[in-house]
Symmetry: C2
Subunit: 227 residues, 2 copies
Amino acid sequence: MTRELFPSSPNKGEQARRGLLLSALEKFGQRGYENASVREIAEAAGQNVGAIAYYFGNKESLYAEVLKGIGAYLRSVLGETADELRERLAGGSLDPDSARSALKHIFRTMLGEQIEGDFDKIRSVMMREQSSPSESFDLLYRDTIRPLHDLLTRVFAVATGEDPEGPLAIVRTHALFGQVIVFTMARETIRRRLGVRKLGPEHAAMIGGVIDEHVDLICRGLTPKKP
Amino acid sequence: MTRELFPSSPNKGEQARRGLLLSALEKFGQRGYENASVREIAEAAGQNVGAIAYYFGNKESLYAEVLKGIGAYLRSVLGETADELRERLAGGSLDPDSARSALKHIFRTMLGEQIEGDFDKIRSVMMREQSSPSESFDLLYRDTIRPLHDLLTRVFAVATGEDPEGPLAIVRTHALFGQVIVFTMARETIRRRLGVRKLGPEHAAMIGGVIDEHVDLICRGLTPKKP
DNA sequence: GTCTATAGTCGGATAGAC
DNA sequence: GTCTATCCGACTATAGAC
């Protein structure tokens, strides 16, 4: 499992490339694609302007590489869990209770990552892509977002007995998903509301508990009773 | 109730000013503050470059005026409902069932606005502000976002019998709020997942129904039983 | 009041030195 | 491979014409 952004070999050239990708992620996140200049990206990485042309050709290709790296990172975070779930779904060996547990486990992982992991740097770029998708967003959506969203929907459908292909399951899953990502997307708002300087592990634990409860209530409430 | 963006008198000067504000909102939303040029804003409004300097002084003040207008618009959308709720909260005349209904009503209004109303133009600017707040964001938070979030929390606390001052009610409310705004914030994702070209009123209705159900399940599940 | 011309700054890309 | 110098275009702001 590669839980690292832009993994690279320790060659000098590879390291320079990785440094450029890291500072590009930061600057693109802070200032947006068009307003982040290749000059400042190179400078922040301790490189010169020409290095970007050398390693990536031009600004646009650099950005595309950053998005690719984000996709790989996100997939690596949930990789094992996702693979296991896909197998059990294919084999039909996933029961509603396990599905609900899996859902909670994925949400906990996403939440932990968003509050503690490298996600902080990824967050702004993802949000910008959601509000005005670039050409490279297609790739991120196809390889990462859609597969994950689809998996969540199918797991949710097992947990509640709904039709996994219908729009209702998709919309419900998206709403549940919203309970998690709102703590990232509107992080500034919840931070100020809780009156803390920074969201830490103790908040992640509390928020995780709340989301677990909500998922339980919604899934149990939607499942046709039979005790 | 002023459900209009940048209301103005019909004077020629006022109309020119309003036209500039409208195209500024559009361009700032499409391209971000730094990358939207005053030239294109003026051109889109059928004005010349100098007009911006004349009416607003400079680009930054123009942006601040746009944010002010957004705040006024958002407050106007929920204005009556919010005022009524605050009165009933202050008077202690809000029972749990009415509180839950009010919550659903507010979420429906927000959702409808986000999908059908003028919110489309506002959306991008708001999202950009969440991901990298400008100086003017403080004003928007204090006058609009915090009061609304606080009201929602207090109404939710009545609906479930929780402590309105405790962090749990705030976190739960934020999670519920997430179910609504995820359809705006991750709109591109849900659009593609549903396989439609554009989210319309029929989707707003379905999504509203789903959120109503989820709110009911969560609120009822959290309320200590006593039937 | 309204518009034009221009000064000054900063951007991406590139050619070529080392 | 690595870095510098430079070109050309686009931007904001402003001074001043009408």
